[in-house]
């Protein structure tokens, strides 16, 4: 636990963060869609449309395939839980999150992996060829992403001398915003950004808006889901996206995050945070409009680049630090 926090404070902070993540994620998704629509000279749906979608899905009666087992119905909850837990390890608007001690960056990665694992199983469970296709592709993307992510995160962790996210953010934030070694940071940032795109299934790795089963990855896995299950899965993926944006935002530009637990600091932190993620969302939307989706076997190159960048980050760190 962080020194000087009462249990009550801790619980409140954690709950607050959970609520922020849950509440904010659909809006981010909506924002990205909006941006894309704008770029495509459409008016597009309102930013808050996703909330309505989720509500509708929740109310619909779900249909479950006769071929499936309990894995299929359990998966949405597991995915939701793992994503949320991972999210709670990342500091959102306050840099001293009470759950900091519960797990470091590795735990974060593996928690997300847990969700992926069950999603893959669910994709296979229905027995439809598309589900299997989605699972198989998801697995290859994941396996190419992971090493790059580990390396990138490690490069950052070194500068902060810790792998616990809150500690990293807290220390960086206290440096009045001057990043210790820019070179390695930039490299790591680039790497992590590519990783984020891949992990959250955005263009150019995957296209969440596609309707062609043959090009789908994430969408194909969840093709059989409907009703509340689909809602949970969608929501979870939204949260995952948000968490990654948070990670990037707070680790690389931790300015304005609440380094102490006072109402003022917290409120500033929250607003700054929302601004930051919104900015990133716009960026992502822009990218999605500028690039086309890559062929599956071109993704290798992209993630290879990410890995090399991360490695360079590491190298720079050691070289410059001597």
């Amino acid at each position: 636990m962080i020194a000087g926090q009462s249990i009550f404070q801790a619980i409140v902070l954690t709950l607050a963060q959970a609520i922020v993540l849950i509440a904010l994620s659909p809006a981010i998704v909506g924002l990205i869609r909006k941006v894309k629509a704008r770029f495509q000279c459409r008016r597009g749906a309102a930013i808050f449309q996703p909330y309505a979608d989720l509500r509708k899905l929740f109310c619909k009666q779900p249909v479950v395939s006769t071929t499936t087992s309990w894995i299929f119905t359990a998966t949405p909850y597991i995915v939701f839980a793992s994503t949320m837990t991972a999210g709670l390890l990342v500091p959102v608007f306050a840099s001293q999150m009470p759950l900091n001690f519960a797990g470091n960056i590795i735990a974060f990665v593996y928690l997300l992996a847990l969700g992926t694992f069950f999603l893959i199983l669910a994709g296979l469970d229905a027995g439809s060829p598309f589900g299997g296709m989605g699972s198989s592709r998801e697995s290859i993307v994941a396996s190419l992403t992971e090493p790059a992510m580990i390396m990138a995160i490690f490069a950052i962790a070194l500068t902060a001398g810790s792998t616990n996210l809150s500690t990293i953010v807290h220390r960086t934030a206290l440096l009045e915003g001057i990043v210790t070694d820019p070179a390695s940071h930039v490299m790591a940032l680039a790497a992590l950004f590519i990783v984020a795109l891949a992990e959250t299934g955005r263009v150019p790795v995957d296209n969440p808006a596609t309707h062609l089963e043959l090009t789908m990855i994430h969408e194909a896995m969840v093709l059989e889901y409907s009703g509340r299950y689909l809602a949970l899965v969608e929501w979870a993926s939204g949260i995952k996206l948000l968490v990654f944006l948070t990670l990037i935002a707070n680790v690389f530009v931790p300015w304005g995050i609440a380094t102490s637990v006072t109402p003022a600091a917290l409120s500033i932190g929250l607003t700054v945070y929302v601004a930051k993620v919104a900015g990133l969302a716009v960026l992502i939307g822009t990218i999605e409009c500028m690039f086309a989706k890559l062929r599956l076997f071109r993704i290798t190159d992209l993630l290879g680049v990410a890995f090399i960048l991360a490695l360079l980050g590491l190298l720079f760190f050691y070289i410059l630090r001597g």
């Binding site: 009666q61 949320m84 847990l114 296979l124 396996s143 490690f154």
Partner: protein
């Protein structure tokens, strides 16, 4: 303690002999053999636990009438730890076997099977507690022999015979190298007692120590299945009956790890250059990666698991190698961390690999096939097996909150802490090893997503799978025991870590348990808590809480409306098993991405309809992976040897005159020499 030791050994020994003496009633023999093994296992667990925390190592010795050989036994923490591992898995295996061997009634003499099973366990137990080099070699070879006989249980099948022979020869090659190591150590001290082996560095030149290091690495590496010495493993482990495969893959190869630690940390007292550790680390990384990659391409469930043993041995060696490097730079605490991580993974792998092999055995028991492509939809027919297998899969994929995650987390930490090392090379190499470990982890995840998904989910792919039934109780109990310990070791590592710490404390001399169990016992931290910490109970709790949150959301919005059933969308057709994604198809992208490693050869034959070339009547697809190591490493050696032998034929040409000439020349030459 003496009593417990006696009970353990006696239990196995009686189990070895008694089944052969009782009348041939399979049921009786089965209960007798495996009952005794289980009893001895319990005794062994107690013994191991006591020995682990005993202040002074318990030693006893029986002199033999043969020179060099004394039956000396020593229960120091290291030995006790491995004894504990062996006994627990042994216990589970004996319970499981009670049900599993019923499949062999009438086909195989159960008395033999049971007594060999006991003999195998006995020899493994003795291997880890032996305190005399000669005695060690004796039981080591016995272990190989017993396991060989168990492998060839179903010797009517030619592939089983081949597997057994290959295994026997490979392991003997390994033993030859171990003999070489011990002979080197023997020259240092002039006796085979381990006490004499310790700290040979005074008597040794660097060359000899390097030689000892390499011979030990090759010798034990062959048993452990380090790439490129792993080739026997995927043949032998699947060929054996499943409860034996579990023992071989889960425990037997660990005795090699025991040997390595014993030689490097105990005998050499950790006095070695950094590159020893680096060699071990590099081999570990390569083994881990290649192991999992070959596993991905396997569709025989048991071979797949066997390849995963190669992978996990690699992961263990990553921990040990890191420990050795740290130790060579004098960073005792970090060395201890690496070693603890390695040992923890040793224990975990023993447990979940045994569990998975049990699962595979149950599938074999229920469907009589090992080919995953013929499984499918088994989760509904075998819910228990399915659940246990899932737990095993989650653990081996190192996902929280299971034990596999904890040990891999620890290994990651010890690799990350490399930045405290003086050498830049190591600073860069260890993180790269970490990246390889990460890749390994995800590939393992993929592999077990495949293994579980294809075997247990969707529609049955064959009539075997369609008519499968849940396995009898003893098998389920055996699996349940291990599954439970998977979860337990995952949620309460703080209780397990002190055990490993005892071992490292005795090996390295620094105890870091108090520094690893941080924040009032709630969190686990590598040496400094600032760098990172992990609290798996809290994570588990949060997971549960958030899942509850999800349920709450659902309840909030839609109440709990029952869902209705529908058919899976298959473009309007009725879904048939042939439409499902096959295991081969699932790993197709990976095969393509890593084709440089696999060098696959693909063959696709298509028969088209006469009417149009756009409609295929029949398609035949097959692909093979290049067995690189057999082709470029083993075959040349074999061909060379047999070629040499062939060229020697002329010596025995059958001509009397030639033979006389040999004698004549020998005589004359010797006479001239004698002058």
């Amino acid at each position: 303690m003496a009593i417990l030791l006696l009970l353990t050994l006696a239990g196995y020994a009686v189990g070895l002999l008694l089944p052969l003496c009782v009348p041939s009633r399979p049921r009786l023999q089965n209960t007798l053999a495996h009952g005794l093994a289980g009893f001895a296992g319990v005794a062994g667990i107690c013994l191991g636990t006591i020995g682990l925390f005993a202040g002074e190592p318990f030693t006893t010795s029986v002199p033999s009438t043969l020179p060099l050989l004394t039956f000396a036994i020593r229960l120091d923490p290291l030995a006790s730890f491995f004894l504990l591992t062996i006994s627990s898995v042994g216990l589970a295996a004996s319970v499981y076997a009670l049900g599993y061997v019923t499949e062999f009634y009438g086909r195989v003499p159960i008395s033999l099977l049971g007594s060999l099973f006991n003999g195998f366990l006995l020899s493994m137990t003795l291997v880890v507690i032996a305190d005399n080099g000669f005695f060690f070699l004796l039981v080591w070879e016995l272990m190989s022999l017993f396991s060989y006989f168990l492998v060839v249980t179903e010797h009517e099948k030619s592939d089983v015979r081949y597997a057994g022979l290959f295994y026997l020869i490979m392991t003997h090659v390994g033993t030859a190298f171990i003999v070489l190591t011990f002979l080197l150590l023997f020259q240092g001290s002039g006796s085979f007692s381990f006490e004499g082996f310790r700290r040979p560095d005074q008597a040794f030149s660097d060359g000899m120590r390097t030689m000892a290091f390499l011979t030990a690495l090759i010798g034990f590496g062959t048993k452990a299945g380090i790439v490129p010495l792993h080739v026997w493993l995927p043949y032998a482990h699947p060929a054996a009956p499943s409860h034996i495969s579990a023992l071989m893959s889960g425990v037997m190869i660990k005795t090699a790890i025991y040997g390595l630690i014993r030689v490097y940390f105990d005998f050499f007292g950790g006095h070695f250059p950094w590159w020893w550790g680096f060699v071990v680390l590099a081999l570990g990384a390569v083994s881990a990666l290649l192991g999992v990659m070959y596993a991905l391409m396997e569709h025989d469930l048991k071979s797949l698991l066997a390849y995963h043993s190669v992978e996990n041995i690699g992961i263990i060696l990553l921990g040990i190698g890191a420990g050795m490097i740290f130790h060579s730079y004098g960073l005792e605490q970090l060395a201890a961390l690496g070693l603890i991580a390695g040992l923890y993974h040793t224990l975990n792998h023993a447990i979940f690999k045994a569990l998975l092999f049990f699962g595979a055995g149950s599938l074999l028991y229920a469907t009589h096939t090992r080919n995953m492509e013929e499984y499918g939809g088994l989760l509904r027919r075998m819910p228990w097996t399915g659940a246990f297998f899932l737990i095993g899969a989650v653990s081996i994929a190192a996902l929280p909150p299971t034990n596999g995650f904890i040990s891999e987390w620890l290994i990651f930490q010890s690799l990350f802490l490399s930045y405290e090392m003086p050498s830049l090379l190591m600073k860069l190499m260890l993180p790269i090893a970490a990246a390889m470990l990460a890749l390994t982890g995800v590939l393992a995840l993929t592999c077990f997503a495949k293994a579980f998904g294809i075997s247990f989910l969707a529609l049955p792919r064959s009539s075997h799978a369609k008519h499968a039934e849940e396995v009898p109780w003893p098998m389920r109990i055996g699996m349940a025991f291990l599954a439970a310990s998977c979860i337990a070791l995952g949620l309460a590592p703080m209780l397990a870590v002190p055990m490993m710490d005892r071992v490292t404390a005795s090996m390295i001399g620094t105890s870091i348990a108090d520094r690893m169990v941080a924040l009032g016992g709630w969190a686990l931290a590598p040496v400094n808590v600032e760098f990172s910490s992990l609290s798996s109970p809290v994570l588990g709790f949060v997971l549960a809480a958030t899942a509850a949150l999800g349920l709450a959301l659902v309840a909030l919005y839609s109440g709990t409306r029952p869902y209705r059933y529908g058919k899976t969308w298959a473009c309007g057709l009725n879904l048939t098993p042939r439409m499902e994604y096959s295991a081969t198809g699932f790993v197709q992208p990976i095969k393509r991405v890593f084709s440089t490693i696999y060098q696959p050869t693909v063959k696709l034959e298509t028969e088209f309809l006469e009417e149009s070339r756009y409609f295929a009547k029949r398609r035949r697809f097959e692909f093979h992976i290049e067995p690189v190591f057999q082709k470029y490493l083993y075959d040349p050696v074999i061909t060379f040897m047999s070629g040499l032998a062939d060229r020697l034929r002329i010596v025995q040409a059958g001509s009397l005159h030639l033979y006389l000439a040999y004698m004549f020349v020998t005589l004359v030459l010797l006479l001239l020499v004698a002058l």
